[in-house]
């Protein structure tokens, strides 16, 4: 074996300092705290939906926000796990959750397509830009928490890790927004709330791999 390698091993041994192993639950707690703070800020700034306050939440709200919450948790879990690489580990559970959540935008686009094909006036989705902007901003705390965690670890698939961070941040942010947004319309929720998750996922895939590479 090359003596350079032996020399290097000697230097690395001399350089050793104790490290605390990255624990999945620690990363999860950190990120859930960031998630909770961002939801709290959104609620403080905008206020909770009237139907929640009245104790009679709309079924559409419950279904859609539940899907975004589960997607946020599943993708956060998968992203945090990517800090600890291991050949042969499967991390595709989040993809099934994402597929379930994708039913919302797909159904919204289906409704619009039906309107177009049948010549009826196309149903619109009012107030979407605000949800997109606030959802994206609200997801940034989750994003920062996940990125700092992953930079401490060793993500060996930075592109997938970036996508997961984006999806987790987008779905966390839009979950906070959904607690305040008064809309129960499928098109609004599918296009604008679902679109926030897609947008953040795409941005994460495009820009985060460079940040996460090591």
């Amino acid at each position: 074996m090359n003596t350079n390698t032996d020399d290097m091993i000697g230097r690395l041994v001399a350089d050793l300092t104790p490290v605390r192993p990255l624990r999945q639950r620690v990363g999860m707690v950190r990120t859930l705290l960031a998630f909770a703070v961002s939801v709290g800020i959104v609620i403080y700034a905008i206020g909770v939906r009237a139907d929640i306050m009245a104790g009679r939440p709309d079924p559409m709200f419950l279904t859609s926000s539940g899907l975004f919450l589960v997607l946020a948790l599943a993708s956060t879990w998968a992203a945090i796990d990517m800090a600890r690489p291991s050949v042969g580990t499967r991390r595709d559970g989040w993809a099934w959750t994402a597929t379930m959540a994708a039913v919302l935008p797909v159904a919204a686009l289906g409704l619009i397509a039906i309107d177009l094909f049948t010549g009826q006036p196309v149903r619109t989705a009012p107030g979407g830009y605000e949800c997109l902007a606030v959802g994206t901003a609200a997801g940034s705390l989750t994003l920062v928490s996940l990125v700092t965690w992953l930079r401490r670890g060793a993500p060996t698939f930075p592109t997938l890790a970036g996508t997961l961070v984006g999806v987790a941040a987008g779905s966390a942010g839009i979950f906070g927004v959904s607690l305040c947004c008064p809309q129960n319309d499928l098109i609004h929720i599918g296009i604008w709330h679902g679109g926030t998750v897609v947008l953040m996922g795409v941005l994460g895939r495009l820009f985060l791999p460079r940040v996460l590479a090591w």
Binding site: T5, M8, L16, P18, V19, L22, P85, S86, V87, W214
Partner: protein, 176 residues
């Protein structure tokens, strides 16, 4: 002699706690394992560099090892990551070397030959059409039309072959 996974896990846990003796054993055993891992993938002249890169990554990312999990899959994941990085570097060097004739004349040393061997090993898995398309366009820098004239493939087929070939190479590297 390669230690079993349980022993390596214990050594890694002790290294995380700052035990230098355990860490030395861990690195030496990992070095031997990595030598075998890379021997099947790259020319001998590149093995030591890759081993050193990987050991340095192991050192910097020691906290990313979870003592509740197996050690070798963690080491293999880091080794694969460094190998993919190495392939990117080799590919870039190869393209740069071939796209600049003046530099090629000066720089065509051992590294360039080693890079070439590494690429040729990868190319062995490709069908002839895909290999020719990638070599002519992506490495020698010919235009799609020139590659088409030279190989007799249509321009569309050249593009398809490049796309499919690169995807196949990427898939092969992922599985490595």
């Amino acid at each position: 002699m390669i230690a079993d996974d349980a022993t390596m896990s214990r050594l890694a846990l002790m290294a995380q706690a700052g035990d230098r003796q355990a860490y030395g054993t861990l690195l030496t055993t990992s070095r031997d394992w990595l030598a075998r891992y890379y021997r099947r993938k790259v020319p001998p002249v590149q093995i030591d560099d890759l081993i050193q890169d990987t050991l340095l990554s192991l050192h910097r990312r020691l906290a990313s090892y979870d003592p509740d999990r197996s050690f070798y899959p963690w080491l293999a994941a880091i080794a694969r990551y460094r190998f993919i990085d190495h392939l990117r570097l080799v590919y870039r060097q190869s393209v740069e070397t071939h796209s600049d004739d003046a530099d090629f004349a000066v720089d065509s040393g051992e590294d360039a030959i080693a890079a070439r061997i590494s690429l040729e090993r990868l190319f062995e898995i490709l069908p002839n059409g895909q290999r020719a398309a990638i070599e002519l366009v992506k490495i020698k820098g010919l235009s799609i039309r020139e590659a088409s004239d030279k190989t007799g493939q249509s321009e569309a087929l050249i593009k398809v072959n490049i796309h499919r070939g690169l995807r196949r190479l990427a898939g092969m590297v992922e599985k490595a």
